[in-house]
């Protein structure tokens, strides 16, 4: 017989995620010299800060039982809007940044409204949003627009020192602030709990008198907002706008969220888990870089294997808890 874990079943995927992260970090430190340094760890955050932000928005979407395929394209669109408004229209970042955030939020809000009012599948609606946003960025320009502006230089190059020599960037700060806000929203606000309730059973949530429609629209608006924040961070990182930016990143995001322990069928998951999901994706890349001889496509293979592992793990947990319920 298996010993009963002191933890509830719902925390198990999160525990698994964190353990896998620690294991991989330990493996890296053991195998490569220089791996065990605070900067290597902080670089994980620096290189993946946009993915962290995307994953936060996606976590809410998936917990509610939905999916948002538009986030990668919204990054591209945001980068194009930011680039063209800054370079071609010569607008101040004070105007550009709010406009960019608005673009993502509006796309998200419209998607959410369509999903709610017409009772459409989130998959199809956001698939349409994905094509639309990608197409719109090419309407702005088919070429890359390089950004040369003091604000973007500042955002990209400022190093915030922590722990002696190590540093993080402003993007990391933004991403971590968003994670903290999202953890608070998920655990300690009505909106957050409504998201979980909808993911558990939309019909029950409705009969319990919860504002299902408003919550759903807000979820997709928030995901769109996160996508545009991620888009801005991505733009700081690339210092250019381009229609091909972040191609397929919605799938990386979904992978990170699932590896982070969120149930793809909705109803269970944690924002903190998604943070670790992203870090796991990051550490796979780092290990492959350190290995030196491996092709970078091994990243994809590792992600694929991990994803399968997690889906199976989740399924086992669900089956177990069903069995437990039947036998009680």
């Amino acid at each position: 017989m298996i010993q009963r874990l002191p933890l509830g079943y719902k925390q198990l995927p999160l525990v698994a995620t964190v353990s896998i992260f620690i294991l991989m970090y330990g493996f890296g430190s053991f195998r490569y010299t220089g791996f065990l340094s605070s900067q290597v760890f902080l670089n994980l955050l620096i290189d993946n800060s946009f993915l962290i932000v995307l994953a936060v928005g996606m976590t809410f979407v998936i917990i509610s039982g939905g999916i948002d395929l538009s986030v990668g394209s919204v990054i591209a669109l945001t980068s194009m809007v930011a680039a063209s408004l800054t370079m071609n229209a010569n607008l101040s970042p004070l105007i550009v940044v709010p406009i960019c955030l608005l673009v993502g939020s509006i796309i998200g809000g419209v998607q959410g409204s369509l999903i709610h009012f017409f009772n459409l599948q989130p998959f199809i609606v956001t698939l349409a949003g994905m094509f639309l946003a990608r197409g719109l960025s090419y309407v702005i320009s088919v070429e890359t627009i390089a950004i040369d502006h003091p604000f973007f230089d500042f955002m990209a190059n400022t190093r915030i020192p922590i722990l002696g020599d190590s540093f993080i960037t402003i993007s990391v700060l933004i991403a971590l602030i968003i994670v903290i806000i999202a953890v608070f929203i998920g655990h300690s606000t009505k909106f957050g709990r409504n998201v979980y309730a909808i993911g558990g059973s939309e019909q029950s949530a409705n009969l319990m008198g919860l504002p299902v429609g408003r919550t759903k629209i807000l979820i997709y608006t928030f995901s769109g907002f996160c996508a545009s924040v991620g888009g801005l961070i991505f733009t700081f990182y690339m210092r250019s706008g381009y229609g091909l930016h972040a191609n397929g990143m919605e799938l990386d995001t979904i992978a990170a969220v699932v590896i982070g322990g969120t149930l793809l069928t909705g109803g269970a998951g944690y924002v903190a888990g998604s943070l670790f999901g992203v870090l796991i994706l990051g550490i796979i890349q780092t290990i492959i870089v350190y290995e030196g001889t491996l092709s970078s496509w091994w990243t994809k293979i590792a992600i694929g294997v991990l994803l399968l592992l997690f889906i199976v793990l989740q399924r086992i947990i669900v089956i177990r808890s069903e069995k437990k319920q039947n036998s009680s």
Partner: protein, 503 residues
């Protein structure tokens, strides 16, 4: 009480669904400090009336007056804000959330803009203690039994400053003690001036707890009566619209039958670890074998093994004398076994398909998908069984989800009857359906067995088992305890004693 101002008046309520007039001109008047029953068969419109009142469905005609003012309730939330709370027949809570959350979600307690979990946990605990329930409120709802979930749903409804509390079949999954507990809570709330709507199929409970009742039949308003003034037989005949004599008929049918002592299916120490202890059982041709036992005694588990839905890890099945192994229900279906699950909603109907489509599923599956049954043939089959089983509405193209529970059950029965089964396993076929439909289903069982079909009849209602079965097997704690021949010597007390054990 009659002089008091009614808390809620519904007048001439009309509600239509595509192809069905669910409510036509129904009245309902609720007074504070009163328990009011809504009575009717399945399909009479009770659930629809509740859903209209609580804003789940919009009203197509008629008016609602609440505390003297005309109101239009557009959503469950609005109903709750007005003080109308509902506990639905199927527990409608979120199993992925904690007990506390299920009680408080939608009206959480906040402190400095943050949800105050500690205070909510404490209050949830207190609230449940008021219902004599001491459980860990921080655990997930899914870790508790349906009976406890039901109590939690009631706790949730009480937590709002409710003025009208609607209990839709609250007792169908509770045992006697839990029912008593619930009734003491209901009486307390009634004395506090709540108007309570109570819906139940158990007549005993109606007479025990309600003060007044409204009778509906086929979506029409039949009348309002004081409970103590209306005799049972009058009430039943008002509900079904005809004198109830069928009950006696069944018994006489059962007597005429001569059971053939020819085994159709038998098991030899068949068992599955953790589900059911090894059992040996024999079902004869043309016999109705009753399976009695309390909830969780292993009745469904036993049935699932016989149908190949679960794989045994011990023992054998013999079919007509030959040893056989069912590795999936498909094989059992080929051997002419049918299984109506107790879980009508999740393991029975396909809600988005029509009555006709639901009916032909198994027979089409048995033929294989390449030998398509033509639409005319399907229509023919559907029409035949609709009239045979008296399915209402008699429209094969109606979506099954728009039918009442009893009629859905009949469609599922038809699904198996079409395949001409030699053994039909019926797991709680009469649960949550009205007397009329129950009688029809039991009559059907008797007729089938006379024609040589064996039936394994699982029911929690001892009366039904005694009325219909030739033999009764009793399960207790996942173990087959005893078998009885159903004769004069077998009484309810005797069966109950065996089910409860310890004596």
């Amino acid at each position: 009480m009659d002089n008091a101002q009614p808390r809620l008046v519904m007048k001439k309520i009309v509600k239509e669904f595509p192809g069905v007039r669910a409510l036509s001109g129904v009245n309902l008047t609720l007074y504070p400090g009163e328990v009011h029953a809504i009575m009717g068969e399945n399909g009479a419109g009770k659930s629809t009336l509740i859903k209209v009142l609580t804003g789940v469905y919009p009203i197509d005609g008629g008016a609602v007056e609440y505390e003297g003012k005309k109101v239009i309730i557009k959503s469950p939330l609005e109903a709750q804000l007005l003080g109308i709370s509902t506990v639905y027949q199927e527990v409608n809570l979120c199993t992925n959330l904690s007990v506390t959350e299920n009680i408080f979600i939608g009206r959480e307690i906040k402190k400095n803009g943050k949800l105050n979990w500690r205070k909510m946990h404490n209050q949830a605990k207190k609230l449940l203690e008021g219902l004599q329930l001491q459980i860990d409120v921080t655990k997930l709802l899914s870790s508790y039994s349906v009976a406890i979930q039901q109590m939690i749903a009631i706790a949730r409804a009480l937590n709002v400053s409710a003025k009208v509390l609607i209990l839709d079949e609250p007792t169908s999954s509770l045992d006697r003690d839990e029912v008593n507990q619930l009734f003491s809570v209901i009486r307390k709330l009634k004395n506090e001036g709540l108007a309570i709507v109570f819906i139940s199929h158990f007549l005993d409970q109606i007479y025990e707890i309600t003060d007044r009742l409204t009778v509906l039949r086929n979506g029409e308003y039949i009348g309002e009566y004081m409970t103590k003034d209306i005799p049972r037989m009058d009430l039943v005949s008002k509900m079904i619209g005809k004198e109830l004599v069928e009950m006696k008929k069944i018994e006489s049918l059962a007597e005429n039958k001569t059971s053939l002592n020819q085994s159709f299916l038998s098991t030899e120490l068949l068992g599955l670890q953790g589900k059911i202890d090894p059992f040996s059982i024999q079902i004869n041709k043309g016999e109705i074998l009753g399976l009695a036992g309390l909830l969780g005694a292993g009745r469904t588990e036993l049935a699932r093994l016989l149908f190949g839905a679960d794989q045994p890890d011990k023992g054998h099945i013999h079919l007509k004398g030959k040893q056989i192994k069912f590795s999936s229900p498909k094989q059992a279906i080929y051997e002419k076994i049918g299984f109506c699950s107790e879980n009508r909603k999740s393991e029975g109907i396909i809600p988005d398909l029509t009555v006709r489509e639901n009916m032909i599923l198994v027979i089409q599956g048995k033929y294989g998908w390449f030998r398509f049954i033509s639409k005319e043939k399907q229509r023919e089959i559907a029409d035949e069984y609709i009239s045979l089983l008296n399915i209402n509405p008699a429209n094969p193209e109606q979506l099954i989800e728009n039918l009442s529970g009893g009629n859905q059950q009949k469609v599922i029965l038809a699904r198996w009857l079409i395949t001409n089964p030699e053994l039909l396993i019926l797991d709680e076929p009469t649960r949550g359906i009205d007397i009329g439909a129950k009688t029809e289903i039991m009559k059907l069982m008797t007729n089938l067995s006379k024609e040589g079909t064996s039936i394994l009849f699982i029911s929690s209602e001892i009366e039904e088992i005694l009325r219909a079965c030739d033999r009764v097997a009793v399960l207790r704690d996942r173990k087959l305890e005893k078998e009885f021949n159903n004769n004069e010597e077998l009484t309810q007390q005797k069966l109950m004693k065996e089910m409860a054990g310890g004596v």
